[in-house]
Symmetry: C2
Subunit: 475 residues, 2 copies
Amino acid sequence: MIENVYIVIMAGGSGTRFWPLSRVDMPKQLLKIYGEETLIQQTIARVSSLVPFNRIFIVTNKKHAEQIRFQVPEITKENFIIEPLAKNTAAAIGLAAVHINHLNPDAVMGVLSADHVIRNTDQFLNIMHDAFKVASMDYLVTIGLKPTRPETGYGYIESGETIEGGELATGRVIAVKRFIEKPDIETAKKYLRDNHFFWNSGMFVWKTGRILEEIGCFMPALSQGLKEIEAAIGKGDEEDVSRKAFSKLESVSIDYGVMEKSVRVAVIPADFGWNDVGSWTALDEISQRDDGGNVIAGNVIDIDSENSIIYATDRLVATLGLKDMVVVDTEDATLVCRKDKAQDVKSIVERLKKRGSEEYITHRTVVRPWGSYTLLGKGERFQIKCLTVNPGARLSLQMHYHRSEHWVVVAGTAKVTRGEETFFINPNESTYIPMDTKHRLENPGKILLQIIEVQNGEYLKEDDIVRFDDEYGRE
Amino acid sequence: MIENVYIVIMAGGSGTRFWPLSRVDMPKQLLKIYGEETLIQQTIARVSSLVPFNRIFIVTNKKHAEQIRFQVPEITKENFIIEPLAKNTAAAIGLAAVHINHLNPDAVMGVLSADHVIRNTDQFLNIMHDAFKVASMDYLVTIGLKPTRPETGYGYIESGETIEGGELATGRVIAVKRFIEKPDIETAKKYLRDNHFFWNSGMFVWKTGRILEEIGCFMPALSQGLKEIEAAIGKGDEEDVSRKAFSKLESVSIDYGVMEKSVRVAVIPADFGWNDVGSWTALDEISQRDDGGNVIAGNVIDIDSENSIIYATDRLVATLGLKDMVVVDTEDATLVCRKDKAQDVKSIVERLKKRGSEEYITHRTVVRPWGSYTLLGKGERFQIKCLTVNPGARLSLQMHYHRSEHWVVVAGTAKVTRGEETFFINPNESTYIPMDTKHRLENPGKILLQIIEVQNGEYLKEDDIVRFDDEYGRE
């Protein structure tokens, strides 16, 4: 572990690029796209040998913070830095820098994305060690990745002279000549041949004091806002001050706001199997392909497809003779698109927004700290859910104004609190929770509890819930 | 109405070509593929101005007969001719001929498929009138369709000399020179240019006496079997005799068994917008296309697709930049295939059979004479269904050995019989039906009754049902 070092995980994400697997409520970082853990779980695990958990901070919005906490319980609530509004990376990074600098004015912070794949962890850690060393020489350090294809979807970094003075384990550190926005294909091809150019990975390392100074130079409005927020840290009105300050800010990336302007920027060339998993076609690079060049997952019957990505869950997907296609199937929505159009999935999401469909917001199955629920069906005044409660877990003590609930236990044993009573129900037994009645569902047993819940009422949305007591600190 | 005329509707069908919309339990004829009614409903409606309903016979198997009766209640149970085993068209047609000949030895029968589309009904009826006239001159009459493309999926008829003697309203009747099996593409192209060649539509008209004679000449084994069956008609053992006779038969088409060999075969050229709807790509011809040449139905968001067929139900299907593709989405399965591979959908069904999946047999929503049910979910020892019962309808008085049922009413009012009790339950009320208990569910009201049924038990298949009384004559 290195002294004074902190890690900041940027965990925003709008959930559009991996639709229909990603949703507004379930952005990419929360998905198992690569390996057995979600991307954010992998990101946290990867840096946990660099710093202790209490020096890992997660920057995200209030909504996603809850979901992230279920996935990475190692990170305590205090280490979540909540963006009051989405104002791009400069504001988010500035906010994190202010908080960490307040804790430790000698801090060095590494900024990482929650939703990238890195296949070579050892190499990544070596690079981070070197980056901390260079950052301690007052540089703003970026990690530059050696291009492997003429990618037009990334920004590039042009490097200049090697910087002397740091003994780097992984190779050189080079002064940055300039940052370049997404190039056209011809330019990208040129960059690929020229070894002065690197992909801008969005991974940065610097002293918190340095980045705040640079923000002071190049982004005075943000700097002012951050000062107001810093003054409010630990006082009761921090959330309000923070929201007010953010509401005045423009949306600017750290690249545009600071990096392109600063004169003391260094790049460390790296090659650790990085992938930003920017669209479904990224699976071609990070997943196992079959003989036909296909990436196939889930309940799929395929005949004679080539070079396609076919991602299913439990529902059956049958494919026949596909070429260069992407098929993604989820419980409530299916995407079929040409591979070369995979970047345009966001326009589908736009359409869904416009027509007010829910399929871009949430999944039919929603994970909760106590287990999960799946919407099985709904009608005008009713809704059916299957609730799965983990052994030992319990839902909040709660009440609904607009709905009553019938519960039928189909597996496990339920402990039910209803008004003043407490009782148990077993498989093939049922109970009824009237409206306006405090109730709680609990799995006191050793196996999963499964309950079919039939809700009746005029209003059936999730926000008709009054929580009186919650194990998981939800309001 | 023409005297002595009978119509036989061939309603077999394995449900493979339109999978996943068609299933073993729901073959093409039972689907609304074209227009607002199912194909068999349209077929019956089309011939109902030729003959009264009691002269329309439906040849099908026992399983499909029930489903067909719900769709075409005009045809009474007596007019269903049940194939004990599927033995191809010669046996099925012979069976129908024997039955009709038994009723009326002067009968002329028209044989039609239950699952073809005919867009010009008037023209069709005119052709049928002419065909009956020619059949009365002791010809075996076929309806030959003018080819509109070099189709390699059909058999062809080569015509010879015009037959004199019949005054036909629709044109000529021509002697058949020979029947030709499915040609290769070069031959099909030649046939398209030569006006002596017609598609073999599988529509036939003849006297029942004539076809039985011809079967006697060319198919002695079938002829023998049919004689045994005829002798048993109206006696108690008809079903057994019929099964025994069929079990000895080879599977032979009427074309191969009789038509190719007979010397007195005529063809009436026709052009009435016929389509056998042989695969999903048939929708290109019978459906409305959008500006991009796409046929799109159901809950679809499409961006920039061309010349594709996108068929959805309630689930969301999003498509992006497709070209010449077929996408068919149903509750439990999705098909994505290249248009030029649409004929190979049957190989998907083969795979499903091999792996023992149910998605080729039945749909999640199953129509019953009293309404329908939808499987919402299932686990090892439970299953959840939504039952919709039509106003005034009632399920059979029944019992299950292996499952108990929880019912929650979510819309309408239910009248429940449970053992000796009868009572009503309203929305947001529930009841419980233990195993081994006679029960009945009824909708006494004026609006749809919807019930959520949670089944618990060790064995949950549909065949665990003992029916004591059924409105719809089911056993």
